[in-house]
């Protein structure tokens, strides 16, 4: 609001001053952004007087023309046109500008930050997402900059992640303790899937540094990519696993446990005989590598507990290289 008044006042003041001076300039028309606000006043546009784009003490602060272009034919409709042409650059849903053209206006100022250095070639840029697809300029508050509203903005496009974030095992995004930009740099990154740091793992380690290692006994998929086993957006399985153990583990490892099919305690034939005269599968002499210990509890991790790696150097049998301790 203030910036518009300031520009308008400056423009009007300039005209009045020149007029009083009797100079040949006294008939000069209002130009530049001062002319824009003669039509687009506070009744026409939302208040943005508190936004970063309205800071008069910052020499970089843009005016209307910085983003929308000189728009001469829009400002002064040629007499031979019945319909006033649109401004040189418009950003709404009806804009015919490409995403690059819309973003170029913003980048003329905002590409000096190292966090946006890798915008070109990034997933959002490649997917034709422009700055104004997420950011609201003519407003005092921008959803994209408010932690509480950010996830809802991202879910506008990322529907699969919206469903995952509501599952049982999830990061506290719905609770407002975390948001998408805690893990992602939406403006471009050297990491996979716009991970904030240079890899998925490096991003996870910013909160889960205990998994970084290295360890004496390593589990290769752990050091390779956390997303091999985990879905960080949410899962119905504890610890945000993509698939529950033992199935997850058996995608890579040969099973070594008796019981080639899944079965549970409380099922007929497992801990109790299926019928009179029959023997239950699990008895007092059954090995611990039984179907119940395989499919229930922590499954494979009931014994192979150090799934992310173990720093135990002990050479006493059973040595910990099988992630036992």
């Amino acid at each position: 609001m203030q910036i518009r008044r300031w520009i308008a006042a400056l423009g009007v003041g300039l005209v009045a001053t020149l007029g009083l001076s009797g100079s040949a300039w006294s008939a000069a028309p209002v130009t530049g952004a001062a002319f824009c606000v003669t039509c687009h006043d506070e009744d026409d546009l939302p208040d943005m007087s508190k936004s970063a784009h309205a800071r008069k003490t910052d020499a970089r602060t843009p005016d209307c023309i910085s983003c929308h272009g000189a728009s001469e034919t829009h400002a002064r409709k040629p007499a031979n046109l019945s319909v006033r042409p649109a401004p040189d650059r418009v950003y709404g849903k009806r804009s015919i500008l490409t995403a690059e053209e819309r973003s170029a206006a913003c980048q003329s100022c905002h590409d000096k930050d190292s966090k946006r250095a890798l915008w070109n070639g990034s997933q959002h840029q490649s997917g034709d997402v422009a700055c104004n697809s997420c950011h609201k300029i003519h407003a005092n508050s921008d959803k994209a900059l408010a932690r509480a509203a950010e996830a809802d903005l991202c879910f506008t496009c990322h529907k699969e992640q919206r469903a995952q974030a509501n599952k049982l095992s999830h990061h506290p995004v719905a609770e407002g303790k975390m948001t998408c930009s805690d893990c992602h740099n939406v403006h471009g990154s050297a990491g996979a899937k716009l991970a904030k740091r240079d890899s998925t793992n490096a991003t996870c380690y910013t909160c889960h540094a205990e998994k970084r290692g290295p360890f004496v006994h390593q589990h290769e998929p752990v050091s390779d990519d956390c997303a091999t086993c985990h879905n960080p957006h949410g899962s119905t399985i504890q610890a945000m696993l993509k698939v529950r153990a033992p199935m997850l583990c058996q995608q890579c490892h040969t099973p070594h446990v008796a019981g080639g099919v899944g079965a549970l305690s409380g099922q007929a034939g497992v801990t109790t005989p299926a019928a009179p005269g029959q023997t239950a599968l699990i008895t007092s002499i059954s090995s611990g590598k039984n179907v119940v210990n395989m499919w229930q509890g922590r499954s494979c991790l009931n014994c192979h507990t150090q799934i992310h790696g173990s720093n135990n150097p002990s050479a006493t049998n059973p040595t910990p290289q099988l992630m036992l301790r």
Partner: protein, 730 residues
């Protein structure tokens, strides 16, 4: 002073400090060009329901006790000085209780920025442990064999503070620095297990009717660790060249070195009989478990952009990172191989990425990038591993990834734009450490390479209808499979089907290494039939098909998602939004002589919300979200299935479905008492039903050898209620 009164004392102290700070910042006489806005919120909130009813809704809340309540205190103070060009914002919420958030931001736009935060998050596992274990959550728990225990919540609290600073040194040069540290305290699900006899532990004998030869123990992992991070950056932003040099340091320190349980001489066997442990098993279970060692990481990077012209731009990132782990084994209470004092863990990673983009013609825009990442594992190699009398070393895990990507965008008309893209990635996992040995693995692979092609079209078909459609296809291949030497090292196998030198039937070839065909399809459209109404539709479909020398393991997966969202601005005062979404995931997996698993997950969800201004002084809103998630484990039998597996599947009927239904209703109402103060009521009612056999099935709990069980109330219903008063001044 009891723990409860200590917490109350600290909460009162924090609240007093907050109020004092607020009083200090209370409005002063208005200065020219200075605007101040302050808000104070006071109230009370509670999570109504029994403790067992709220484990899912209260997962990230401190309100887990029955009908738990707490005060609400929050404030916000903002000061904007248009003449000086400065903004100050201090914000704090949830100052009472165990979860807090506070932040400060003080900036002179274009000149400097100062930030600070304080954050405390609590997570309580939705599962409750019922155990007689003494010292649960400590490094020296004492196992007690008993079928009657007490409830123990597994909770982890993170408390973090941080400061940041940014300064423009000149029009083109700036610098920034941020420091943060977080303390993590609590415990999480953990344990040990052993079954005898075992090739790796011949000293213990197996179970029989007079001894327990197998045991699983639930021992919560104790957590007390600090993680500190520092990041500094120096940036030059010229007209054409923008370059930034940065350092990142991460320092993890664990107060605990090992978990050493005290185990009794008798434990329950798998059928619940208390029997003496078999000889050898007690000493195995009593051995210390290594907890996470201290570690550090450092990274230097040079990131930048060169704008050759308005049409052509290059970007780049070069970085060097080093991850270290040198915790003393003896200091942690462990005995290492002779001559070894610590792991000597050192992993160095070099990253080089360059990208170029250029507008060749007004309609044609192309971009390409090349990424090279080399992770060199320089960790010392030593003979840590013993199986029977054979010894072998740990294994280095180097990894080199090279990726090249190119894309062309063509603007067919002002309304239609097409994209073609191609990508190639090569991963080299390095030569297998010859002195190490695999275990439980059929095959490894040194190299994989994947080629991806992508095409999509976006169109604005009219002023009210726009959409996009995209397809993607990739194929992965790799080097020869590597077979375990039945000792140390591996050997490449040129013909995996070879009867003598190939792989045995039943071998598993990892989906991360196997040949794979991946295909994806995406469809989106947005329709705005009226100015006030917007309809959005999205659909994705993806399939992975794995080709390996074996029919066992993971053979294929498929996911599909579809969602419809509608937003309606009913009037200037009211808006309505709703959505319906469906997601399906299917995977097929099998094991030799065992199951043929067809797993299916179906997730259906819907939401409906309305909000608006009911009268001059009333703002109200309601939102209801429903979710239904079903996991189906359909088992068939491999043609080689043994009679025991056949009988087991016939007798049990297979694995039951795992399901969760959840409905959440959120209501809010805000009444403006006058232009400065308002009253607000928030209600969240959540009902959920979980049917999951992980910790029990058909009334039979999964029990540990000491009688510990884990449980979660299947049907839960809880109400979160908050009443707050806000006073706002300018």
């Amino acid at each position: 002073m009891t723990n409860s009164s200590v917490r109350t004392f600290h909460n009162v102290r924090k609240t007093t400090l907050a109020l004092a700070l607020l009083a200090m910042l209370a409005p002063v006489c208005a200065e020219e060009g200075v605007q101040e806005i302050g808000t104070v919120t006071l109230g009370v909130g509670g999570l109504i329901g029994s403790s067992a009813d709220k484990t899912r809704l209260g997962q990230y809340s401190s309100l887990r006790g029955s009908d738990a309540s707490k005060g609400i205190l929050g404030f916000e103070y903002g000061r904007r000085d248009d003449e000086a060009g400065t903004d100050f914002l201090l914000r704090a919420t949830q100052l009472v209780g165990e979860t807090h958030q506070a932040s400060l931001r003080w900036t002179k736009q274009g000149d400097w920025k100062i930030g600070a935060f304080y954050d405390q998050i609590l997570r309580v596992d939705p599962n409750t442990v019922r155990t007689a274990l003494q010292g649960a959550g400590t490094t020296t728990p004492q196992v007690v064999a008993s079928t009657s225990g007490n409830d123990f919540d597994l909770r982890v609290r993170r408390t973090g503070v941080g400061v940041s600073f940014w300064k423009a040194i000149s029009d083109t040069v700036s610098t920034e620095l941020s420091l943060k540290t977080e303390q993590k305290v609590g415990s999480r699900l953990f344990g040990v297990g052993m079954t005898c006899p075992s090739l790796i532990a011949k000293a213990c004998t197996g179970p029989n009717n007079i001894q327990t030869g197998t045991a699983l123990l639930l021992l919560p992992e104790p957590i007390n660790a600090n993680h500190s991070q520092i990041e500094g950056r120096f940036t030059y932003a010229g007209e054409k060249l923008r370059v930034s040099f940065g350092y990142y340091g991460s320092f993890y320190a664990n107060q605990y070195d090992a978990l050493t349980p005290s185990v009794p001489g008798s434990l329950y066997n798998p059928v619940g009989t208390l029997l003496p442990l078999s000889p050898g098993l007690l000493s195995i279970l009593s051995q210390p478990v290594a907890l996470t060692p201290d570690n550090q990481a450092h990274q230097f990077d040079l990131t930048g952009v060169y704008a050759q012209s308005a049409r052509t731009q290059y970007n780049f990132k070069l970085s060097y990172a080093r991850a270290e782990q040198h915790q003393s084994f003896a200091g942690a209470g462990f005995t290492a191989p002779a001559g070894v004092t610590n792991l000597g863990g050192n992993v160095e990673t070099i990253l080089a990425q360059v990208g170029a983009s250029t507008r060749i013609t007004p309609k044609l825009f192309v971009q390409a990038d090349l990424r090279y990442e080399d992770r060199d594992d320089l960790t010392s190699i030593a003979r840590y591993n013993v199986i029977d009398t054979a010894t072998y070393t740990n294994r280095a895990l180097p990894n080199t990834k090279t990726r090249a990507k190119a894309q062309a965008n063509y603007q067919f008309t002002t309304r239609i734009r097409g994209t073609l893209g191609a990508e190639y990635e090569l991963i080299d996992r390095g030569v297998y450490t010859a002195t190490s040995a695999t275990s439980g693995i059929s095959a490894l692979r040194q190299k994989t390479d994947e080629t991806k092609l992508r095409a999509d079209v976006r169109a604005t078909l009219s002023e009210v209808f726009s959409g996009s459609i995209g397809v993607e296809s990739s194929r992965r291949d790799g080097s020869n499979w590597l077979k375990d030497n039945s000792g140390t090292g591996v050997t490449p196998v040129s013909d995996p089907y070879d009867v003598t030198n190939g792989f045995a039937a039943g071998s598993i070839f990892m989906p991360t290494l196997a040949n794979r065909q991946r295909d994806k399809f995406k469809l989106r459209f947005e329709w705005q039939p009226f100015e006030s109404t917007s309809v959005q539709f999205s659909a994705d479909d993806g399939r992975d098909s794995y080709k390996s020398p074996s029919q066992y393991g993971l053979s294929d997966t498929k996911t599909s998602n579809a969602a419809v969202d509608v937003t309606i601005a009913i009037s200037d005062a009211w808006s309505l939004n709703g959505y319906v979404a469906q997601g399906d995931q299917v995977l097929h997996q099998s094991r030799l002589a065992g199951y043929l698993m067809s797993f299916k997950n179906t997730n259906s969800s819907a939401g409906l919300g309305i909000s608006g201004r009911a009268a001059d002084k009333w703002e109200v809103g309601a939102n209801v979200v429903y979710m239904n998630d079903r996991n189906i484990y359909m088992q068939g039998l491999d043609t080689n299935a043994d009679p025991a597996s056949v009988a087991l599947l016939a007798g049990t009927g297979g694995l039951p479905d795992v399901t969760i239904h959840q409905t959440s209703l959120t209501l809010f109402g805000k009444y403006q008492l006058n232009d400065k103060s308002s009253l607000r009521l928030d209600l969240i009612k959540q009902r959920s039903h979980l049917s999951d056999w992980t910790w029990g099935n058909n009334g039979v709990a999964f029990a540990y050898a000491d009688g510990s069980t884990v449980w979660q109330q299947p049907d839960q219903s809880a109400l979160l209620m908050r009443v707050s008063y806000s006073y706002r001044w300018r």
